[in-house]
Symmetry: C2
Subunit: 201 residues, 2 copies
């Protein structure tokens, strides 16, 4: 191996387009935002499966695989919440450039934090999906018992209780999960997504 | 959507095995370690292309897409070097569980730091590849001019100059890049890898 050889041979570098073509899809990042209990993760995981069964290749990024892994050294301080979202956006960007559809579900409560994520990912590949259910509906679901804890003061700055949620003004799609079943909500998202991920001829 | 609906339906969750089957491969993490200039990135990018042309799906993680993205807020302090490797290992683990072969090229100079990465990824999926060339060969290549800078004292704790490189004692594969062309080195790695990534029937 000579010095000359060691330079990357750029014309042979695998491109995002090559990967997308192989996977038969255009990659995108779906950014699901909404209150805890609004149904983000459930819809994301159902969509991931539906996409797979229809020949697409997607990856859900959520608390389960992110908070327990790459972000396991972050607290819930304001600074760390920003770093949490930054890393998620960067991981999504890696997946995007691997040709894979990333489905992210994180509360991401402020317009600023979602704009920050959009900047990292690139506006042309970022789809903001507002998973909307009224607070009282989310609180009545309380799958993880987090609202109860927040009401008892055991969780500080919990979105919707003692920390605000800023709804997107112009999301790419809004889904009211108090007015739809999981199947309906996922179907709605799938139909919205399809023209965005199909390879154009 | 009722409270009951909101629980993830686990039997329908997409598994690593589903993804591997779709991609026609077993996923692994290849961890290429070696001095700056040993040829890690060149081999990794050539392998990535070769795998793709043979129907596999891999992703190189290197300084170009990691240091400029998810790790762009890390310095070269000892603490940050550890955090650098931790995040790389966590990103690799995400790819691994997405069914994708991750090809990592980072100097990762100490046995401890590589053991740390192996722990995060899981020993059964971690392949340590030692890209070995003598220091004087690497220094004479000096693609990025880093050795010159280090010799002038402009880069501190540069591996091989004023910071030690601990060679792997029992790497899964060792490639001497001073004794092989890029093509030969990549071919060697490909042949080693093939039985590990082919789906067993």
């Amino acid at each position: 191996m000579s010095k000359k050889d060691i330079h990357p041979i750029f014309e042979r570098l695998l491109q995002r387009e090559d990967r997308q073509k192989r996977l038969g899809q255009q990659s995108k990042v779906l950014w699901l935002t909404g209150l805890s209990g609004s149904g983000k993760s459930t819809i994301a995981l159902t969509l991931e499966r539906m996409l797979f069964e229809n020949g697409f290749f997607a990856q859900v990024l959520d608390g389960d695989n992110i908070r327990s892994g790459i972000n396991n050294n972050l607290s819930f301080s304001m600074e760390d919440r920003q770093e949490n979202i930054r890393r998620i956006a960067e991981v999504s960007r890696l997946y995007l450039h691997s040709g894979i559809i990333a489905i992210n579900c994180f509360i991401s409560p402020t317009k600023a934090i979602r704009a920050f994520a959009r900047d990292i990912i690139g506006a042309e590949d970022f789809l903001e999906i507002y998973i909307n259910a009224p607070l009282d509906v989310c609180e009545s679901r309380d799958v993880k018992g987090l609202y109860q804890k927040a009401r008892r003061g055991e969780l500080k700055e919990f979105t919707g209780i003692d920390s605000p949620y800023e709804a997107p003004e112009q999301p790419d799609l809004e889904i009211r999960t108090d007015q739809a079943t999981i199947e309906e909500a996922t179907e709605m998202l799938y139909r919205f997504l399809l023209p965005q991920i199909q390879i154009k001829n």
